[in-house]
Structure formats: C-alpha cells, structure tokens
C-alpha cells in the first residue's frame, strides 16, 4: 500500500483514468486473426528490434569484416545461428503480415473516407518495411546480397531527375565501395526503425482517433453488444498471437536456419541472380520492360497505390462500377503472385 501511494503521489493517474485511456472499444470481428493482422507485424517489429540489437553486438559493417562477422555469429557465437535465423524469419513474416494486413484493408474498403490518410501512412509503413528488408539482406555481404544491392541502387539511378542523387546517396559514391555497407547498416539499424516507429505512432493514433472500422456481418445477431474493451481482452489476444508467433519463429529458425552463401565478389556476378522473394515482382518487371519504361511504370503503380482511396472515391462517385476496387484488387493480387512465381521458378 505504501508503494502504491508513493507512486500515486508522483503519478496522479487514477485507476478510472487509466481504464478510460485503455478501454478503446474494439469491434467483435477483431476477435478473428484475419481482421487483427495489424498487430502481427507490430509484434514482429519488436522481435526484430530485440534480435537486431543482439546481432549488432557482433556485426561489423565493413566489406572486409561483414561476411566474416556474420559467419562468426552463425558458426561460433552461442545460439548465434538461432538469433540470426529468428531475425531473418521474423523479417519474412513481418513483410507477409504487412502485405496481408494491407490486402484485408483493401478488400474490406477500410481505406475509404475518412481513413484515406491512414492508408497513405500504411503505404509508407509498407515501403519502410521493404526498405528495411532490402538493407538488412545487403548487410550479409554474400554474393546475392551484394549484387542485389548493386541492382537496387541502379534501379534508383534510372529514376528521372533524382535517380543519380539517390544512387550516390545510397552507395556513398558512383559504385559499391567501402563506405556503402556502413550506410546500409545505419539505414537498417537506425534511420528506418526510427521512421517505422514514428509512422506507427501516427498510424495507431489515427486509429484511436477514428476508431476501428465496424462491419456488418450477415450472421450477426441483433441487439448483441458489438464491441469489447481493448484492455485486457484485445491485449490478451495479441499476447496469445505473440506466443504462437514465437513458437512458429523458433520452429522455422530450427528447421530452416538462415544460410550463408559465398562471400561477395565485386568482379563476378553470379550465373543466376535473384533478390529476396519480396522483390521478385519488381525484378521480373525489370526483365519484361526496358530500363526507364520499367521504372516509370513501377513508379506509376506505386503512385496509384498511394492515391487509391481518392481514385476509388472518384470511381464510386462518377461511375456505376461501385465495387470496381474488388476486381482491380483481385487482378493486382493475381499479377503479383504470378510474377513472383514466374521469377521464383525461372532461371533467367
């Protein structure tokens, strides 16, 4: 009692105030994982911060030492293979969860007025996550990650007006050099995580301000309470999902641990070069079209993705195709899956 009153004197927040702060009404459909997918990447992000800090204790971001340090973490450090593998798999699952979350938001129309801004914040989070994945993979400094980084920087170079500036900023020069890895490391371990945290704060604040989208389901009973409290109900759900994810991550890390390919050789591009799976779409796209056309068309698609709430609003207001977004979304998902599989199975 003494300790409680000691804190109470210094932090004058009553139990009632705390309950008001945390009792965000959460619609019942969020009991289903499919509708609560936003919490999954947030949890995995925490795992990434924790395992990333552990990896940074041994990692050395220099071309002469990077590969060796990753090899040391994987082969010598106690449970180094496990930490590295969990980091790798959590990154993979985080990207999967972000994409699934976005697909759910898209197909349920949860981006529509007044939630357009939060869709744009979500898109920024998607690209920040992909950039974190790209820079993280480059840090391994194996052949594929080196050439993936080189290709990635040159993709930036193809952008009109700002391309060369972006490439030189990314590589710290005209080509991959000994300062490049430290840039990728700082981006991966400081700039991008801080950006993600800031975007998450905005994303969650807007959700709190606007409330979660409520849906009407066909099998819904009339007159039944439609919401439950965030604390403790939804928090328990998230903790449960977190525990399941930890088991999944440990299983994946043990059964399919992170491997290490041959060390980067700037003189020799491997016979078959592929980026991480989440860039297969872009990589195949680059093979289908010539340089600038591929980059500009990709830029246009990204622009449409960012502005989709407004485009969809215009379509719904001015045409009779009120549910065009569903069919466009289905086509988009099929094209993404198709190009990803094509790149995955094609040799060149």
């Amino acid at each position: 009692m003494g300790l409680r009153s000691w804190f109470g004197d210094r932090l004058p927040v009553s139990g009632q105030q705390f309950r008001e702060l945390t009792n965000e009404p959460v619609p019942y459909h969020l009991k289903r994982w499919w509708f609560a997918l936003g919490g999954t990447p947030a949890y995995l992000f925490i795992v990434q911060i924790f395992t990333g800090i552990l990896l940074a204790f041994y990692y050395e971001a220099s071309p002469t030492t990077a590969y060796e340090s990753v090899e040391y973490i994987t082969r010598e450090v106690s449970f180094g293979w496990y930490i590295r593998s969990v980091h790798k798999w959590a990154a993979t699952l985080m990207i999967v969860a972000v994409i699934l979350h976005q697909i759910r938001v898209f197909f349920t129309g949860a981006y529509r007025k007044p939630r357009e801004i939060n869709w744009i914040v979500g898109m920024c989070l998607l690209f920040a996550t992909l950039m974190t994945g790209f820079t993280g993979y480059s840090l391994v400094y194996e052949q594929l990650s080196f050439w993936g980084a080189t290709v990635g920087a040159n993709i930036a170079d193809s952008l009109p007006f700002v391309g060369t500036f972006m490439k030189r900023m990314m590589l710290a020069g005209d080509a991959y050099n000994q300062s490049t890895l430290s840039r990728f490391f700082i981006l991966h371990a400081a700039v991008l995580p801080v950006t993600i945290i800031m975007l998450l704060v905005v994303h969650i604040s807007i959700i709190r301000l606007q409330g979660v989208t409520e849906f009407k389901f066909q099998d819904e009973e009339e007159g039944v309470k439609k919401t439950f409290n965030f604390f403790p109900d939804h928090l328990y759900t998230e903790i449960l999902i977190g525990l399941v994810l930890m088991v999944v991550l440990s299983a994946l890390a043990t059964i399919l641990p992170a491997t290490l390919g041959p060390e980067a050789n700037p003189l020799q591009t491997p016979e078959v070069i592929k980026p991480e799976w989440f860039f297969y779409v872009a990589f195949r796209w680059l093979k289908l079209f010539s340089g600038t056309a591929a980059i500009l068309s990709m830029g246009f698609i990204v622009f449409v993705m960012f502005g989709w709430p407004f485009i969809d609003g215009w379509i719904r207001k001015n045409t009779r195709f009120k549910e065009a977004s569903v069919w466009i979304g289905i086509c988009g998902v099929l094209i993404i899956i198709g190009l990803t599989l094509w790149e995955a199975f094609a040799k060149h």
């Binding site: 050439w147 080189t150 193809s158 080509a175 300062s179 050789n265 591009t269 078959v272 010539s290 340089g291």
Partner: protein, 207 residues
Amino acid sequence: MSDDSKPDGHSPAEDPDRRGFIKNTSRVAMTAGIVGGYGGFAAIAGRYLYPSRTGEVMWQFVSEVAGIDVGEAIRYKGPSGETINITRMARDGGSDDFIALSSTCPHLGCQVRWEAQNDRFFCPCHNGVFDPSGVATAGPPGEAGQTLPRYELKVEGGMLHIAVPPPQFAEGEAEPKHQAGIIEGEESISGPGHDPCLGGGDGGRNA
C-alpha cells in the same frame, strides 16, 4: 497621458495596426529563423552525406603493347574498383589497336561475362547481350540502346595506358584500397579473344 502617447490618445501598445504589424513581423521573423536555421543545418547535413565527385581521370599503366596479342583480351581493375575488358583488335602499334570496355552492365550494374561460343558479352541479371564492340543487341540494354562504357587508351613508348577515375578515398583515409592492375586467374576470363575450346585457361593472357 504617457510621453509616448499619440495625439489621438491611443498608446502604441493599443494601436491595432501597430500591434498587427509587430505580430506579423514576429511571425515572419520566427518562420525565417526556423526555416533558415534548421534548413541550413539540413543542407549542411545533406552535403555532408552526399559523396563528392571530381570528374577527374588519371592515366594508369596497363601492360606492354607487345605483351598482348591480336585477338587477346585482358581484364583490368581500376583504382576505384571498376573492372574493364581490354581487347587487342589490330597490330598497328597505336592505341586504336585496342578497345577498353567496362564490364559493368549499363542497365543495372551487374558484371557482364564473355561468352566465346556466342561471340558476345552476356549479363546474367536481366539477360542483356552486347556484341564484341560493346553495343547492346538484346535484353533491356538493347531495347534502351545502351552500350558498355568505353575507356580512353594511349600508347607511350610501347606501353599501354588507360584513363580511369582516381581512387574514391584520399591516401591513408580508409583500408583496403583497390589495387589497380590486371586481374589474373579465373576472374580474368571475360573478353573477346578467350575461347575455352582453344585453351587459354590463363584468361587469354600469355605475356
């Protein structure tokens, strides 16, 4: 009435025009201060991060002219790490005998490899194809009309020299330096003149 009162009886502090002027001026001054101060700092930070580029080239010795036969190719690595395929096409004794092509694909920066059986350079990243003179004939670089960048060469006293960018870092700044010179061994097999069917496992270099 105070000394600084106006004849109309309003003190300066009560004059709405004057108060508005001071308010607006303060806002502009504050905005200018914030934009100028932090903007200036951001500009300095941006310039600090943006790598400097001199655009200079330096002449580097490659090999004795007599050490490279007609049809033979060598692979050369410049002081800033770029790799260059140098092929001898004629025996006139001048720099026009040679062609020096970057081995970096102009599409997305991968290293092209020489395919003797097809008489072409091939880029494994996006299936780019270049003829022996470096002109793209297929793949994304072909569609974009790109060529492999050429380097200037000169011959002085029977010695072949090449114009290449200087090292990225000043002396003593960072390790390791790229050691400029001819690439020996397996990685040197990369230019017209090398035909694995005809031997030449030394990468076509027999000097």
